[in-house]
Amino acid sequence: MARERHDYDDIPGTFVFDAERSRQGYGINMFCMSLMKDDNRRAFKANEAEYLKKFNLTPEQTDAILKRDYNRMLELGGNIYFTAKLGATDGHSFQHLAALMTGSTQQDYASMMLAGGRSVEGNRSRSGKNAPSKYLRAAGGKKTASAGKRKAKPKSKTRSAKRK
């Protein structure tokens, strides 16, 4: 069955762990939970493919785990708090996993974080919805309230014009 479409599918580079993925990825996440125990970590390391047979995984899920394709695991229903346990079993830091998922080296990723992280600008939407949230624009203290209003009016006009 095709995945239902959601507004958040428009966010780039993001696999939202929703109820559907939670159902679909139950085996992946329970496998990851099993790695909390040392005996299980050893059994997994001794024969990964064999160990994975206990978890009712699809061939795609098994493949993603064996290849350590973390983004694919998320897409197939894994959740990052769970898949991080697989990374830990491999002896990797969380930052290593984050770098892997973003396709950069750990050093580049670490430098990006030290410089303030990945900017939201240009990263809000796959379909061009790159205007800041109206809640962000409306927010703010008293000082900026009047400036904010002035700005907001022309913007909202532009937006409604676009819609038409």
Binding site: D7, Y8, I11, P12, G13, T14, F15, V16, F17, D18, A19, S22, G25, Y26, N29, M30, C32, M33, L35, M36, N71, L74, N79, I80, Y81, F82, K85, A88, F94, Q95, A98, M101, T102, G103, Y109, M112, M113, L114, G116, G117, R118, S119, V120, N123, R124, S125, K129, P132, S133, Y135, L136, A138, A139, G140, G141, K142
Partner: protein, 303 residues
């Protein structure tokens, strides 16, 4: 947060990278020592420790006498067992369920870094053989599986908790911590996202205009503050438990701590008749609740 916990547990708090973060909590620890709460209600999220994916309660209240630190795969954090306040917790459960919030009651529950790290940040270091300064009532919120409760629902639950605390027969000084990330995304190709402008705005409105925040839809949190930034809804439970108008006692915000922004804000109800109230926030923020003597109808919030 796990990285902050590791820095605490491994004695790295004096290293320059971490000192910048930990020093931001010194004033708050001082405030907490001065406030001397009788109880702390801590809103937090479990990270695949107690709840896994087998059961995913939206709101789970810890009513047990104690909550052992969870083994998250590397052994439990070296902190004392967290003592609960079963009498107040069950009173809250009864009150808020009748107010139409369908809580899950946990009479047995372990607590992970999502709760114990904020406790260390606000209570300071506590040896494993020692004692936390006050009993704690954990309130675990599902923010791992989408959808978490809405911001509005969280805010209203905070109000209901306040009402419950105020109707409790004993006069207790209660602080409430809202915890969770500010902007951060730790999953997928967009991992590393930080939106300081969003965070600052959120903190401004948390102080002055929380009604603006309760309207924010989930999609906006996820777009602007990251897939995991949706944890910010937990702060609204804390905020709902406070007065509409509060005093901002302290605020701290920095980027980055490992993969996230870190900040916290202490809000206190404005005292009446000379009483100071406060709210706390947590490690991310803690809000402080207040508690009032039901009979006297005087709120002394604080803490």
């Amino acid at each position: 947060m796990p990285a902050i916990g590791a820095a605490l547990d491994n004695g790295k708090t004096e290293e320059p990278y971490w000192k910048r973060i930990f020093s931001g909590f010194e004033k708050s620890q001082e405030w907490m020592r001065g406030t001397k709460p009788d109880v702390a209600i801590i809103v937090y999220n479990d990270h695949a420790s107690t709840f896994s994916v087998e059961m995913i309660p939206t709101f789970a209240l810890g009513c047990a006498a104690e909550f052992p630190p969870a083994d998250e795969g590397w052994g439990p954090r070296p902190v004392p067992v967290v003592k609960g306040h079963p009498a107040l917790a069950s009173h809250i459960a009864q009150s808020v369920i009748l107010d139409e919030f369908d809580l899950t009651i946990c009479n047995k529950m372990e607590v992970d870094h999502g709760m114990t790290v904020p406790m260390n940040l606000l209570f300071g270091k506590v040896e494993k053989s020692g004692h936390w300064p006050c009993p704690v009532i954990p309130l675990a919120v599902n923010v791992v599986m989408y959808p978490p409760p809405t911001g509005h629902r969280c805010f209203m639950l905070g109000r209901a908790i306040r009402k419950a605390v105020e109707s409790y027969p004993d006069d207790l000084k209660v602080v409430i911590f809202g915890t969770g990330g500010l902007s951060h995304q730790i999953s997928g190709p967009r991992a590393g996202l930080i939106n300081s402008k969003w965070d600052k705005n959120f903190l401004d409105n948390l102080s002055n205009n929380p009604q603006k925040l309760v309207k924010i839809p989930h999609i906006d949190y996820m777009r602007e503050a990251g897939a995991e930034g949706i944890e910010m809804v937990m702060w609204l439970i804390m905020r709902g438990a406070l007065d509409d108008k509060v005093e901002e006692v302290y605020r701290f915000y920095t980027v980055p701590a490992s993969n996230t922004a870190v900040g916290h804000i202490i809000l206190a109800n404005r005292g009446r008749g000379g009483a100071r109230k406060s709210a706390a926030k947590v490690k991310r923020p803690a809000g402080k609740l207040k508690r009032a003597a039901a009979q006297a109808k005087v709120e002394r919030i604080r803490g």
